[in-house]
Assembly symmetry: C2
Homo-oligomer: 188 residues x 2
């Protein structure tokens, strides 16, 4: 189960509560691993009882208390072990591709709005990534010694950027294809 590993990485980067983790899964980590708060709370509880995590009750003023989780020795060992074993898959789930192939049996032009909407989402995401890159990975870098964590986070972000750019270009290709189809074969 890789949600556990994603949580370990996130908590190593910075300890935090279930709520905070849930928010990180809507941002940074969430770009390559999704999870809802229900799932996170459930898994945190299990990981704690398995001794992978340590909890600390943090009383707060003007806010509900929170449970701050951090990675215990066992958790670190579990992560290390996972890092050393090969992983497969990255099991794909591209609903849009299924839709595109399905559209052949229905009205292909109905795709247009949907594809444009997705293009917008990816375009926004790209802008967001680029802003993050500018903010976090430029400037004092040249002078300061390269930090492994920083460099690795940056290369993951560059992956996200490349992915969004590729996707946008592909969606343009899809739109052009659908339009061409409509032009040469107007529907009944």
């Amino acid at each position: 189960m890789a949600l556990e590993h994603a949580i370990l990485v996130s908590l190593l980067e910075k300890p935090g509560s279930g709520y905070e983790l849930a928010r990180r899964f809507e941002r940074s980590i969430g770009y390559f691993w999704t999870a809802t708060h229900q799932q996170i709370y459930r898994v945190l509880k299990r990981m704690e009882s398995d001794g992978l995590l340590a909890v600390r009750e943090v009383p707060q003023q003007g806010r509900p208390d929170k449970k701050e989780y951090s990675v215990a020795g066992l958790g670190r060992a579990a992560l290390s072990q996972w890092l050393h074993e090969p992983i497969e898959s990255e099991s794909v789930r591209h609903d849009l591709a299924v839709k595109i192939r399905g559209a052949a049996f229905d009205d292909p032009s109905a795709l247009i709005h949907e594809v444009e909407r997705h293009r917008q989402v990816h375009s926004d995401r790209l802008a967001h990534y680029l802003a993050g890159e500018l903010r976090d990975f430029t400037g004092p870098e040249a002078s300061a010694p390269p930090d492994a964590g920083q460099e690795l986070q940056h290369v993951v972000l560059r992956g996200g950027i490349a992915y969004e750019r590729m996707t946008i270009a592909w969606l343009d290709d899809v739109l052009a294809t659908v339009h061409q189809l409509g032009a040469s074969r107007p529907r009944t």
Copy 2:
């Protein structure tokens, strides 16, 4: 649930048995939607009892009999409805990205083999896609009238090709980053 929709699309493209579907999910459709035979049999049974699919027992010689499924009217309607409603997400699960960020807390150079292995997988997949493109989408195309199904399948394949190319380039970026890290900061 989009596995149902992927099955509908696949069966519309060509009716077939659970076994055949399972094999298609290791190839063509499998490139953007994964499913094991156990899952497929379970869902097929449900879809049939829901009236989305029709079955035909096909006795065979020298082989076990098979149940050939095809899409019923209800199934076609269900697909059509799905095509017309917006979909979200494409919920991501990039184990490798989690690993890369996690490597900062362990030995980054342990990534090298893993990344090279993944690069090989994507490189093979790209070659496979390109061969398929050459086989299925070149030649009589210019003379024959454009077939919507063909064009849409082709654009999905082009998406796969773009994805693999992007991924390979990114993995090279990852390798370069890790090597650079090792060079400037040799590990203890």
